[in-house]
């Protein structure tokens, strides 16, 4: 694999690192020393590729939308990560890490989840590979993503509610890390995004990079060009965006656009637009942008979308933002809902609320008619029917 990772010694520029208590030193050190070797091994590659193809259903289609192209006067494609087994890009990473954990001799997995997509993907990968699985999920999210909670339980995972803070993704991540500290010897932590201490951001990026690898090949077949003019993806922690950006990181042509959740607006207190209103600090073991007050207390985010409701962002995105190699726009709940409605009515696709944020970028851009635009449709909307029934019908 050609390396576009921009990472050196665990840092993207000044962002990243591993700010963890000594209690996790051995686990993180072991991962840092072994992840690249294991991932590159023939045994891992053979198993992983086989599963991605026959179990997950990759490659996912790159779909040209006539209706959106017509409306926004550009050539608009979407990468159909929603068609993956379990309904989102999260399975690419969950399966990769579960396989890695197994090859490292771990029998138990702990994970956090926001929307429940990563939890479902992890529970699925664990069932497939015979690993036991504990998932932490904020109590608020358990209430708003009930179908995914049921799926995790059906798959045999133990779902533990997180009761601190606003009882969402940040709190579930805290509890998953604490659980890992208490079960360090036999447990691997499958983090769900490009966040956390090194090597997680890089490892998760590698597992998700299949998205842009396929885009490149598919685009060349369909248009003769292998580099689009734009790649647009939503950003919670930033894993689907990292995967969609990865093979275009050193492209002179491709502009990278991330959509973070503005919630009720970046000037309200109910927002999750980390790059817009945040500042640099430490969250979940990484130096990156986060939402905090003047005393360094991490503030509670808000977004209608459980998967974007996170007060930090992966260090790769903090770096791309600061070095102006990517642009990040803040999308409100209402803009995301309008974009979802449009996609449902024009293309007959019900997107995840998270992914709808990426589509909401379209009306904010000025394209040339020849521009090739790829939007990463990170997941499907089955889990969000309750919100859609309330706001869209």
């Amino acid at each position: 694999m050609k390396s576009y990772t921009l990472i050196s010694n665990g840092y993207y520029g000044k962002f990243g690192g591993a700010y963890i208590p000594e209690l996790l030193f051995n686990n993180v050190d072991e991962l840092q020393k072994s992840y690249k070797k294991i991932i590159a091994s023939a045994e891992f590659q053979k198993k992983f590729k086989g599963l991605l193809k026959d179990y997950v259903g990759r490659p996912t289609p790159l779909y040209y939308s006539e209706a959106l192209s017509e409306k926004y006067k550009a050539r608009i494609f979407m990468k159909r990560e929603d068609l993956n087994h379990t309904g989102a890009h999260k399975i690419n990473n969950a399966l990769g890490q579960a396989l890695l954990a197994k090859m490292m001799g771990k029998q138990k997995i702990v994970a956090e989840t926001g929307a429940g997509q990563h939890g479902v993907a992890t529970a699925t990968a664990c069932t497939l590979l015979g690993l036991s699985c504990v998932v932490f999920m904020g109590e608020t999210d358990i209430a708003r993503q009930a179908p995914n909670v049921a799926r995790m339980k059906m798959l045999g995972a133990t779902v533990i509610p997180s009761l601190s803070g606003t009882k969402t993704l940040k709190d579930a991540t805290n509890d998953a890390i604490r659980y890992w500290i208490n079960h360090a010897a036999d447990t691997h932590y499958i983090i769900g995004s490009v966040v956390g201490p090194h090597p997680y951001p890089d490892m998760v990026t590698r597992f998700q990079s299949i998205i842009s690898k396929e885009i490149k090949i598919q685009l060349r077949k369909q248009t003769g060009e292998s580099e689009p003019d734009y790649v647009i993806a939503c950003v919670g922690g930033g894993s689907n965006a990292a995967g969609a950006f990865y093979h275009f990181l050193n492209s002179k042509k491709t502009k990278l656009v991330g959509a973070e959740a503005a919630g009720k607006g970046v000037h309200t207190h109910e927002t999750a637009a980390t790059l817009t209103i945040g500042s640099v600090g430490i969250i979940h073991g990484a130096k990156t942008y986060l939402m905090q007050n003047g005393d360094g207390q991490i503030t509670e985010p808000y977004s209608i979308s459980a998967g974007l409701d996170y007060p930090g962002i992966g260090p790769l995105h903090a770096f791309l933002h600061e070095s102006k190699q990517a642009t990040y726009l803040a999308i409100t709940d209402l803009e995301a809902l309008a974009a979802a409605r449009e996609l449902i009515h024009l293309d007959g696709i019900i997107p995840a609320l998270e992914s709808a944020h990426a589509f909401a970028v379209l009306p904010k851009m000025k394209f040339r008619p020849t521009d090739i635009v790829v939007i990463n449709l990170s997941g499907r909307g089955d889990k969000d029917m309750e919100a859609y029934l309330k706001f869209i019908l």
Partner: protein
């Protein structure tokens, strides 16, 4: 003045420290509790900087931090409180907190304020040794503040020797692989290996130490123990801190 290291070494195998969260149960409790502890049989005191996301802490310390933040506690206020009482305190007191609090305050400003507040040692569990050497040491040295690092029974001998070399007070040995307040058993064998390493620093055991029995066990293995969650749980229940704190301490110390 004796250094903390000298004091601990003089008191070999019989040091008791307690940890409490600043601003809990009330914002003003910091100075009250410090005053009571100063007159008790405790040997040194750890003051916790409340943080919204304390990754290494169990539920008791988490809840005390959440309450302290609700009470309006901040690092700025903590330094003000320490400034008010520093001349009345005779026992060593340390600050323990998470790196983000320190970064938000400003690295140099933090060390300067520590020194102005009578703080000579800090414990920052998520500050890696390398990062300390690179980004903090110059300020820490200048303001004569030094860090205490955590090690666990699983920390390699090589790392323990490295940490011993740069430590100036004591080595904080975590009782096992656990968050704070978890009543897992003390890993006796692994701890013996560490205390047998002929380190220049004394070794104090913390995390999950809750009563006299644990304290005596820790003292039989190392130079003393730190009690956090059990002390905070007592404070949370207490209607009379003036009576309950000295009672708790002498019960543990058997004095």
């Amino acid at each position: 003045m004796k250094t903390l290291q000298e004091a601990i070494l003089r008191n070999r195998h019989n040091n008791l420290s307690v940890f409490f969260t600043a601003g809990f149960p009330q914002a003003g409790s910091t100075t009250e509790i410090l005053g009571i502890l100063n007159d008790s049989a405790v040997d040194f005191i750890e003051v916790g900087i409340p943080f919204s996301d304390p990754l290494a802490d169990g539920p008791v310390i988490q809840r005390s931090g959440t309450q302290a933040l609700r009470n309006g506690m901040s690092l700025e206020l903590l330094f003000t409180q320490l400034g008010e009482v520093r001349n009345t305190l005779t026992k060593p007191y340390l600050l323990m907190g998470y790196l983000n609090s320190l970064l938000a305050f400003g690295i140099e400003a933090f060390y300067r304020k520590c020194s102005e507040s009578g703080i000579h040692h800090i414990i920052i569990p998520d500050l890696p040794v390398n990062e300390f050497l690179k980004e903090h040491k110059a300020f820490a040295d200048h303001y004569e503040v030094s860090p205490v690092f955590l090690v666990t029974p699983d920390t390699s001998a090589k790392r323990i020797h490295e940490i011993d070399k740069i430590s100036k007070a004591f080595i904080y040995l975590v009782s096992g692989n656990t968050t704070t307040g978890n009543q897992s058993s003390i890993q006796t064998e692994a701890i013996r290996k560490i205390t047998g390493m002929k380190l220049k620093n004394p070794v104090i055991i913390g995390f999950g130490i809750k009563d006299r029995e644990d304290y005596l066990q820790a003292c039989s293995l190392a130079d003393g123990a730190i009690i956090g969650s059990a002390f905070i749980a007592m404070i949370a229940e207490s209607k009379n801190l003036q009576k309950d704190i000295p009672g708790f301490i002498s019960q543990i110390k058997g004095s």
